[in-house]
């Protein structure tokens, strides 16, 4: 097998007795936009810093085009990075900031000037060259940082929550810019975020981090429709989890009896690492809010309405099952016309759209 463009192999990072990154492996093809998604402290940033060379992994290896980069110091790795905070050099203007990596590399002045112009055009800041960082908005500063990180054509661009300091509207604007720049330059991007929407919007693939491990790697679609673990299911998209009284598994399909006696069959089964492969373990059923439908014929799971919330494009209804668990439904306002608190209904869903976790 030919080695991938970039591979992370069994990376492990410990601080004293704390395990920050635990056996992380990834193969990343050239030109991919890969996002590390996870809650804070899940090891995603630590992995990124290992790539940047800011911390030395306890064990494991990182290979770029087949060669280990771990013994190369940060400044010789030729990797680009955009940080969470604005890291423009405060005493240099925009041009000088973008030119800095080129100056360090001793490129001729004419080449630097041309490349800086190209980069400022790429991030749509032509004409801002003489501004000082202090006179730029947060969004503009991050675009200059992006231009600076790309100026020396790095094979890999690292982005550590670069948009977390910006407000929502600006964030969406720059997300579109980042996608465009990725398309135009074809640079391999490793992007860290804790915002699932941002991850889904930007990435080719997403690696979901939890407790220092990667729970699943795949496209946004894969993660949403076919989550490997309970954590991924709950982290990507909205979901409700229901306990079961009885679970029967046959092959890849399961049949459950809920505590109130309702039976649902034909559920796709996901086994978590620790679960026994057979036996009547009580699993949990995960349902997406938009999979739920009201069943007028009185079939399905009997529930009581707790609350109805109007959210503009859609409405959500909060139900409670007979045994006290909560369940969410998202639907158009018309579909739930007449639903009001304390009313009782039956809800139903296509079993193939839900998941049984063991």
């Amino acid at each position: 097998m030919t080695p991938a463009f970039l591979s992370i192999r069994s990376l492990r990072q410990t601080y004293g007795s704390v395990v920050a990154v635990d056996d992380v492996s990834l193969e990343i093809p050239e030109g991919e936009f890969l996002t590390f998604l996870g809650p804070s402290g899940s090891g995603k940033s630590t992995t990124l810093y290992a790539l940047a060379g800011f911390n030395e992994p306890t064990s494991g290896d990182i290979l770029l085009r087949g060669a280990s980069i771990l013994s190369t110091p940060s400044h010789k790795r030729n990797i680009g990075m955009v940080f969470q905070r604005y890291t423009l050099f405060p005493h240099l203007n925009v041009r000088e900031n973008v030119a800095f990596p080129l100056r360090v590399r001793g490129r001729p002045a004419a080449e630097i000037a041309a490349q800086v112009d190209r980069m400022l055009a790429l991030v749509r800041l032509d004409g801002y060259g003489d501004r000082m960082p202090g006179h730029l908005s947060g969004g503009q500063q991050q675009r200059v940082a992006l231009a600076r990180a790309l100026a020396y054509d790095p094979p890999v661009l690292l982005m550590d929550e670069p948009l977390s300091a910006l407000d929502k509207k600006l964030r969406e604007e720059i997300q579109i810019e980042i996608r465009r720049i990725h398309r135009e330059t074809g640079v391999t991007i490793l992007y860290v975020t804790h915002d699932q929407e941002e991850a889904l919007r930007l990435s080719d693939r997403i690696a979901v981090f939890n407790h220092g491990r990667i729970e699943q790697v795949g496209s946004g679609r894969d993660l949403y429709h076919d989550p490997a673990t309970r954590f991924v299911a709950s982290f990507i998209g909205d979901s409700s989890f229901l306990d079961t009284a009885e679970t029967k598994v046959a092959g890849e399909r399961g049949r459950v009896v809920f505590p109130d006696g309702t039976v649902v069959a034909d559920l796709p089964v996901h086994r978590s690492a620790g679960a026994a492969s057979s036996g009547p373990a009580a699993g949990q059923v995960m349902v997406r809010p938009q999979s739920l439908r009201l069943d007028v014929k009185g079939q399905g799971l009997p529930v009581r309405v707790l609350d109805v919330t109007f959210l503009g494009d859609s409405s959500t209804v909060q139900f409670q099952t007979a045994w006290g668990q909560e369940l969410w439904m998202r639907a158009s306002a018309e579909a739930i016309a007449g639903v009001s608190p304390e009313a009782t209904f039956h809800v139903n869903w296509n079993p193939a759209e839900s998941h049984l976790f063991l």
């Binding site: 110091p73 940060s74 400044h75 010789k76 990075m81 890291t87 990596p101 360090v104 990180a149 020396y152």
Partner: protein, 266 residues
């Protein structure tokens, strides 16, 4: 009420009266000395019977005063340079280091500021007597560097704490070696702190009397030592002239520093 300026009433008047008196108390002696240095009276009669530059001429005619001023300048510049250089390195350790006893180290670095100067003066005098550094330029510079060190460390630590290390990291990833990133990016970014440190350190040395009295030899004296020596003999107006120059110089340095700082921070 008591903390609302416009509603103090008669109390405000009383506070203003005391404030003005205190301001006069603080300012008048300085102005008074400056005035006397241009007065013709040998016995410092005020108001002076006539105005003269005689005392300044006396001052300029005596090479010992000029020598002392030169020594002061030399010691000040060297101590400030040394204090800022050591203070800069120490600040990196204090701000970025993660080692046991970091707070203790910080306390040690600030101790020369709070220890009674007389104790340090006597102690360093004893040491320098033994190793033959008394009355030497090196001795002056070393002793003043110790005294100026806390005043250099404080502004540098403050500005380094306000500097986001990610900016330096960004420079390193851009391809600058860690040392180059510090020189090209971090130092310019904290230049106001460095500048304040240099000014403070210089002024501490420039105005320092106690250690200098112990350290001085007849051949090597700083300006304050010269003034001290003269003061112990009589109150000649030449001292007024020397004091005025000293004060004017300090004010000049402070004003220049304020101006420069404003220009730098733009």
């Amino acid at each position: 009420m008591l903390l609302s300026y416009n509603r103090l009433g008669g109390l405000g008047l009383a506070l203003w009266a005391i404030t003005i008196l205190v301001c006069l108390f603080l300012l008048v002696p300085i102005i008074f000395i400056a005035a006397l240095s241009f007065g013709s009276s040998q016995w410092l009669v005020f108001p002076p019977p006539a105005w003269t530059l005689r005392w300044y001429r006396d001052l300029a005619a005596d090479p010992r005063w000029l020598d002392a001023a030169l020594t002061s300048a030399k010691v000040g510049v060297l101590s400030a340079a040394l204090a800022v250089a050591l203070g800069l390195m120490a600040s990196f350790a204090l701000v970025r280091g993660r080692f046991p006893g970091r707070n203790l180290l910080k306390a040690l670095f600030l101790t020369p500021m709070v220890l009674p100067v007389i104790v340090f003066a006597v102690a360093i005098y004893a040491l320098f007597l033994r190793i033959g550094l008394n009355g030497t330029l090196v001795g002056f510079v070393l002793a003043h560097t110790v005294l100026a060190f806390p005043f250099a460390v404080i502004p540098i630590v403050n500005s380094l704490e306000g500097f986001d290390k990610s900016i330096e990291d960004a420079a390193v990833l851009c391809g600058a070696s860690p040392l180059r990133a510090k020189l090209k990016i971090t130092l310019p970014a904290i230049r106001i702190g460095l500048f304040s440190a240099a000014i403070f350190a210089f002024l501490i040395s420039w105005d320092e009397v106690v250690v200098a009295i112990f350290m001085a030899s007849p051949d090597l004296q700083t300006l304050p030592v010269r003034i001290w020596g003269a003061l112990r003999q009589d109150l000649t107006p030449v001292i007024a002239a020397a004091s005025t120059i000293l004060v004017a110089f300090t004010l000049l340095v402070m004003a220049a520093a304020a101006l420069l700082r404003r220009r730098i921070s733009k």
